[in-house]
């Protein structure tokens, strides 16, 4: 039986690669752009762009999403991960979904190129079904200028770029990756496959 993965399409960036990755992994991905479409087994919150625009575009779905995440696994990717947190300082101060306590802040620029773009390794700090079969210190593909900061309780993996920041987070069945698993080659696909496994375990 194949699980139904819903990719929330709220108008922030190209969602095609995420869709294709799930299809490659033999699931049945669908795009969600209205409330009735939330009838899925697991949810993906992707997104590229600014935090404020992201929250504004997501607004029509927030109520139903708040309800859905009580029972369904959710994976936030890049901006989608940042929006899981309480707030962001990107271009001001904006409230996030507040599923995970923490704040999104700009990466320090001292001598480093920001945006942080390219392959960087992740140090795993905790065991989780999401990381099954992935080697510690594997490389993943990042494109971002901001990162979330939160209690170690929610950090599955961290990355160093000038400072250490959380690159994989989790709270119950809510997951987030600052990098793009759909662009991170084999370990990225493995992580998505593990997420599918988590979804299967909940239905």
């Amino acid at each position: 039986m194949s699980v139904k993965i819903g990719i929330i399409d709220y108008g922030m960036g190209n969602l095609k690669s995420v869709y294709k990755a799930f299809r490659f992994l033999r699931t049945e991905p669908v795009f969600i752009d209205k409330e009735e479409d939330f009838d899925c087994d697991g949810l993906i919150l992707p997104g590229v762009g600014a935090f404020e625009d992201g929250m504004k575009n997501l607004a029509p779905f927030i109520k139903i999403l708040n309800n859905e995440v009580k029972t369904k696994p959710l994976l936030g990717i890049c901006l989608g991960m940042q929006m899981l947190f309480s707030d962001s300082e990107e271009n001001g101060f904006f409230k996030g979904l507040d599923y995970i306590p923490g704040s999104v802040k700009k990466l320090p620029e001292d001598g480093l190129k920001v945006p942080h773009m390219g392959w960087n390794s992740i140090e795993f700090l905790d065991d989780d079904p999401l990381l099954l079969g992935i080697k510690n210190d594997s490389y993943f593909y990042f494109v971002h200028s901001y990162a979330p900061f939160c209690s170690p309780d929610y950090i599955l993996g961290q990355t160093e770029y000038g400072i250490k920041f959380p690159s994989i987070v989790a709270k119950d069945f809510i997951y987030g990756t600052q990098f793009h698993p759909e662009k991170s080659g084999e370990p990225g696909l493995k992580l998505l496959k593990n997420f599918i496994g988590i979804v299967e375990s909940t239905i």
Partner: protein, 252 residues
Amino acid sequence: MTHAKRIIPCLDVDQGRVVKGIKFVNIRDAGDPVEMAQLYDQKGADELVFLDITASSDKRKIMVDVVERTGDVVFIPFTVGGGLRNIEDIKAILRAGADKVSLNTSAVQNPDLIKESSRIFGSQCIVLAVDAKRKQNGWEVYTHGGRTPTGIDAVEWVKKAENLGCGEILLTSMDADGTKDGYDLPLTKAISEAVNIPVIASGGAGNAEHIYDALTKGKADAALAASIFHYEEHSIRKIKEYLKSNNVPVRL
């Protein structure tokens, strides 16, 4: 810090077919860009660049199909360049699934294209390709596949392009290109020091040491090459092992 330097194979594509594709044992069709891309992904490429050299503009749509099919099976970032003239061209390629586009002649003719496209699609997906040739004092930018001198200084041009919003520079030395004698290190260093965005060095790679030099002495963030990766002695893995043993962080 473990931010990796990148190794990027480049595929020249003419009307949907790889030019100078080499027959590998485990590849059915060396002319199919999708199969080549998949093979390079398996062999450890960090990103891929497709350069569309199709001359007739009515056949350019073929590239959109190549991009679509590549995205079905390749899950590392890839860039498409060649003949992209306006926002519509860029949009079509990004929509088809490319992560970045590279602009060359069109950006020189209309620098506002850099500004507009980076505003619409984000700086991270706009790469400026620069073909530079040594002149008496510095390097000059050429367009139209290296056929047309512009009188523009390469260092000044990349600074301007960074201000306009491009997210990365793909720098080709016309003097070194095809020689296999190594990258133009003074050029690579001058450009890398002029901007605060990543620079991909291109032109002249003949062996692993050349790539090492570009990433260290040349201060490049990534090295691009075409034909050398076709040969087993310069496989991407072997080059990366050489880099790693010389303390250059790479994804292995």
